[in-house]
Symmetry: C2
Subunit: 277 residues, 2 copies
């Protein structure tokens, strides 16, 4: 039996890094936004580990976050993910593949796990692979997730903003997530904790965008193109911020288009879910 | 400004009662299912308490769960809820009105609350009104929610089944929620805790339906028509259970239709959300 999951894309605007020996507990605090543009992940069980196969947009790929999930759930499967999102550019594609794999293989094998167990397996797979720290829990929740405590449930704890804004995004290329979150993150984490405190003080989408801009500047993550695009959106009265971790910008409503960018538009999405066949 | 929320209906299959002086902390453990058939709740701020108005399907109603939410959020509004669900029959309409009011009035007034704060206000409004103990947190989460710890966040704690089954339902009339949950609930709560333990042992939709049937029998809540309908669905190989608290039955897939009932069909729904205008 094949089962299929849809996992929204996810942009993080601000975050802090919280390592732990246990990849279920390790993670990030921060805030982001789940996108109606996402990743569709069908999974078919296969006979054994030699038959495992992971494809992204048709290409066979090695994706440690996905194989980590298969190992944790003790399942062998063929996973064929498809997305229109930019890959390795801050849109949470690896987290989506991990979470979609967990949901789809559990359904395809009548695995009998709960949602929190599957989120924990996907989060741990992603963290152990070094490709993300908080996308999975945000993608599971959907909306505008605020990661108050790092890690997957039961350690992790999220709230969210009730707003469901329209969103645009543009990318100028990738950033090496593993290099940033694997390096010295003390200054980044101080900036991220301050930004999260500001958002908790005034939990609105506008504060989220503003705190994200301050975070990107203080954490020294802005590239020239990203900084220019954010300024251009601000110049036409819009709200924009950098998508962590990519050379990417997301904006509310049609802010990027109004600033003259060839942007993609989507909506804020609910969380990941199995798709009825 | 008007804002509009959509809140899914919610059927509870099994539950236990956990009173507390604080209505945010009081609630139920249990399990249910969020329905794509739900309640649309637009809210308009008004000048003062004398201008408050609550309508359900066009009729002016006194709904203590809704006015309790307005009191808790310190807002005056006109709330005009519409639904195709049966009212007072175990589909969570009062909880949906409470949660929809919280989401919509916060958006309409730029209230700046987080999702968890709005869920807590709605849950407390519903519990204080005596019209429900767990619908609101299930409706906020969506899917097939399992209420592991009673109350609203941060006290309440939910997990869920990842399945998203198609659902049918039929109702033969109401039950007096306040009379059941306001009376002696010791035997009901023992039955509910046992049923939840069985579900946690084997977290599948089939276990949920089976544990719900045993719960309804042990808690002595079955009416003749409900019992007959469940047996009829079982006789055609289907899965069905009683919707708490109403003289209502829900079934997986087309179980009720196949058993000859004139049932309504819907899908398992994601959680409550603001609707973009």
């Amino acid at each position: 039996m094949t089962a299929r999951a849809f996992v929204p894309g996810h942009v993080t605007g601000l975050f802090s890094v919280h390592p732990d020996d246990d990849p279920v507990v390790a993670g990030s605090r921060g805030a982001g936004l789940a996108l109606s543009e996402g990743v569709t992940v069908p999974a078919d069980p296969v006979a054994g580990p030699d038959d495992r196969e992971v494809r992204l947009n048709g290409e066979r790929v090695g994706m440690a976050a996905v194989t980590g999930v298969l190992d944790r759930l003790d399942v062998d499967a063929r996973v064929v993910a498809d997305t229109d999102l930019p890959v390795s550019a801050g849109f949470g594609v690896s987290g989506a593949c991990a979470l979609g794999t967990a949901l789809a293989v559990d359904a395809a094998t009548d695995g009998g796990h709960t949602e929190r167990e599957l989120v924990a397996a996907a989060h741990a797979g992603e963290v152990a692979a070094g490709t993300g720290l908080g996308d999975v829990v945000g993608q599971a929740r959907g909306g505008v997730p605020i990661r108050l405590e790092p890690g997957a449930p039961p350690a992790g704890y999220l709230d969210g903003l009730p707003a469901r804004p329209a969103v645009e995004y543009v990318t100028f290329g990738g950033l090496d997530t593993a290099a940033v979150i694997g390096g010295d993150t003390d200054a980044l984490t101080r900036a991220g904790e301050d930004a999260l405190a500001a958002l908790r003080e005034s939990p609105t989408v506008e504060t989220f965008l503003g705190a994200s801009r301050r975070f990107a500047r203080r954490a020294d993550l802005l590239t020239d193109e990203v900084e220019a695009a954010i300024e251009d959106v601000r110049a036409v009265g819009g709200e924009a911020a950098m998508a962590m971790l990519g050379q990417s910008v997301f904006a509310l409503d049609d802010g990027l288009s109004r600033a003259g960018y060839d942007a993609r538009s989507c909506r804020t999405s609910e969380g990941a879910t199995l798709v009825e066949e």
